[in-house]
């Protein structure tokens, strides 16, 4: 078996892997190697040809290929190496090695000083949400259709129904309309939009595409090809109301029903995964429960902005490099971050306390939308950070910064409460 040696091995060459590679190199790691399964670097950004990326990081509105291109070029200029068309089939966290298969080199054992997981996520499919009906051709996940249309020059259909109002679904509604298809409806089971409001405005409203909130597809019809779907309104328990069922004629159904971090390698390696995020549990250095393994981007938790992925991944790259060079400040103890009122999950889940004070950003998502809230962090019942927000939304990641020196207990709890309401919440 061929053997390759490197300081930092990065699994995945999308925005997370590229940012981690750039940061690891800048921190001083000598040999940084990206292993990518596609035939080019950039990951999913290559097919995200629409604008809206980089508003925070580059202070400019870029398209996916531009954003990815800038990082791929920077990585190349810094001397980051990469193997394309290569699949990691096994990762050994203690031995710090990864087994990869590639058409050119066969099976390769990659030996590293540290490993960064940057595999991203994949889409939930029809099987994940169990839509009744026949199983005809013409049912695609929105991202699969996006790749076919934007990279492979294959149009997927003419008359489209989209299930799910996630960003990819809405962006594909516009894309298919521009390419001459008719998007009949976007169907959303929740009573609020899953994606960003700006996407509803410029992808649906601009083209007069109807959005049906509190609706779902009750049946897909067709033998060889989709010929239509039944759609019904849902009650407050998300159950379809039979009397509201209507038939919609279409030849294609796109599913934009959520993303799942791709953690087969992580789980196989025995690294602890959080059941809410479906990603590895990490500390503020983006270090997993296995000390030589770091993780960043959508493999940890599904982000809504690539700019956040970049910032988070740069941390992973930096600390993965420091781990190899043994330059990191020694840890004294580790505490957990706990979800309080109206908080679905927090990333990082662990906070390392050292003898130096550190400012740590706790990123989190709320459970339900709310206006005029106060976000508080408490440790041992004492408030250690507080900020106000005009609006919180499950679709948008929030953050609050804490000083590690203020952490007294074994945990920190993040809560989101209505202003003038409950205030500091009881521990869960």
């Amino acid at each position: 078996m061929l053997e390759m040696k490197c300081d930092v091995a990065i699994i995945g060459g999308g925005p997370a892997g590229l940012s981690a590679a750039v940061a690891a190199k800048k921190e001083g790691a000598d040999k940084v190697l990206i292993i990518e399964r596609d035939n080019a670097l950039g990951g999913i950004l290559q097919q995200c040809i629409h604008p809206g990326f980089g508003l925070n990081y580059f202070k400019a509105e870029l398209t996916g290929p531009e954003y990815a291109g800038k990082f791929a070029e920077e990585a190349k200029a810094l001397g980051v190496e990469c193997i394309l068309n290569a699949m990691i089939i096994n990762m050994l966290p203690v031995e710090k090695s990864a087994i990869c298969v590639n058409e050119e080199h066969g099976v390769v054992n990659i030996k590293a000083g540290s490993i960064v997981l940057a595999m991203g996520c994949r889409e939930r499919t029809r099987a994940n949400i169990v839509i009744p009906g026949t199983r005809p051709a013409g049912v695609y996940t929105a991202g699969a259709a996006q790749r076919l249309i934007n990279r492979q020059n294959e149009m997927v259909g003419e008359k489209i129904v989209i299930l799910g109002s996630g960003d990819i679904g809405m962006i594909m509604a516009r894309r298919m309309t521009l390419e001459g298809a008719k998007v009949v409806a976007v169907i959303e089971i929740m009573d609020y939009l899953a994606g960003l409001t700006r996407n509803r405005v410029q992808c649906l409203d601009d083209f007069g595409i109807p959005l049906k909130l509190s609706h779902t597809i009750t049946k897909i019809v067709g033998n060889e090809r989709v010929i239509g779907v039944y759609v019904a309104q849902v009650d407050n328990k998300k159950q379809p109301i039979k009397e509201t069922e209507e038939y919609i004629d279409c030849d294609t159904v796109l599913l934009s029903v959520g993303l799942l971090p791709e953690n087969e390698l992580t789980k196989k390696a025995g690294i602890e995964v959080n059941p809410i995020t479906n990603g590895p549990i990490v500390n503020q250095y983006m270090q997993t429960a296995s000390e030589a393994v770091f993780a960043c981007g959508n493999v940890v938790h599904v982000n809504d902005l690539v700019d956040n992925v970049t910032i988070e991944s740069m941390k992973a790259g930096k600390y993965a490099a420091q781990y190899v060079m043994k330059t990191r400040v020694e840890a004294i103890r580790e505490v957990s971050s706990i979800t309080g009122d109206n908080v679905r999950y927090i990333c990082p889940q662990k906070i390392v306390i050292t003898k130096e004070n550190e400012k740590v950003r706790l990123y989190f998502r709320v459970l339900t939308p709310e206006f005029n809230v106060v976000i508080t962090v408490s440790s041992n019942g004492v408030e250690i950070a507080k900020k106000k927000a005009k609006r919180v939304n499950p679709g948008e990641i929030e953050f609050i910064e804490i000083d590690t020196v203020k952490v007294q207990g074994e945990e920190v709890t993040v809560s989101v409460n209505k202003q003038g309401g409950a205030g500091l919440c009881a521990k869960k």
Binding site: Q46, I49, H50, P51, G52, L55, E61, T63, G64, P65, E66, G69, N150, R151, Q152, N153, L178, E179, L196, T197, R198, R200, V201, Q202, D206, D304, L305, E396
Partner: protein, 117 residues
């Protein structure tokens, strides 16, 4: 005339209300940044959008090259611009930001590559 506009400059999506008549704007309320103010004023009088799409190439392995309008184009010209872009076929080396179509549909705006070919 009063128009309720949702700002699309960033993911915040601020609700902005613009009052005015034609090109004349009397009041803009609800914006939280300078870009938002500019967007709302434009959206009231002359809505524009960045057009992103692809052009065909001669390479079977990479059959498409992503492109964008360098600046936002008038919203009502989006479909005309799409028709122009569809006519193009790339058969030479292209770098990011090379002009693919200049002054598309008389808008004075160029269609540029967002990737390399």
């Amino acid at each position: 005339m009063r128009k309720e506009i949702i700002c699309t400059v960033c993911p915040m999506g601020c609700p902005i209300t613009v009052t005015g008549e034609g090109d004349k704007i009397e009041e803009v309320a609800g914006y939280t940044c300078k870009k938002g103010l500019e967007y709302a004023a434009n959206e009231f009088a002359h809505p524009v959008r960045i057009l992103t799409t692809t052009v065909k190439t001669k390479d079977e392995k990479n059959p498409l090259l992503p492109v964008r309008s360098e600046k936002p184009v008038p919203k009502e010209k989006i479909m005309d611009c799409m028709a122009e872009v569809k006519k193009v076929r790339i058969n030479k080396k292209i770098n990011r930001y090379d002009v693919i179509i200049s002054d598309i549909c008389g808008t004075g705006i160029d269609i540029v590559a967002t990737g390399n070919y």
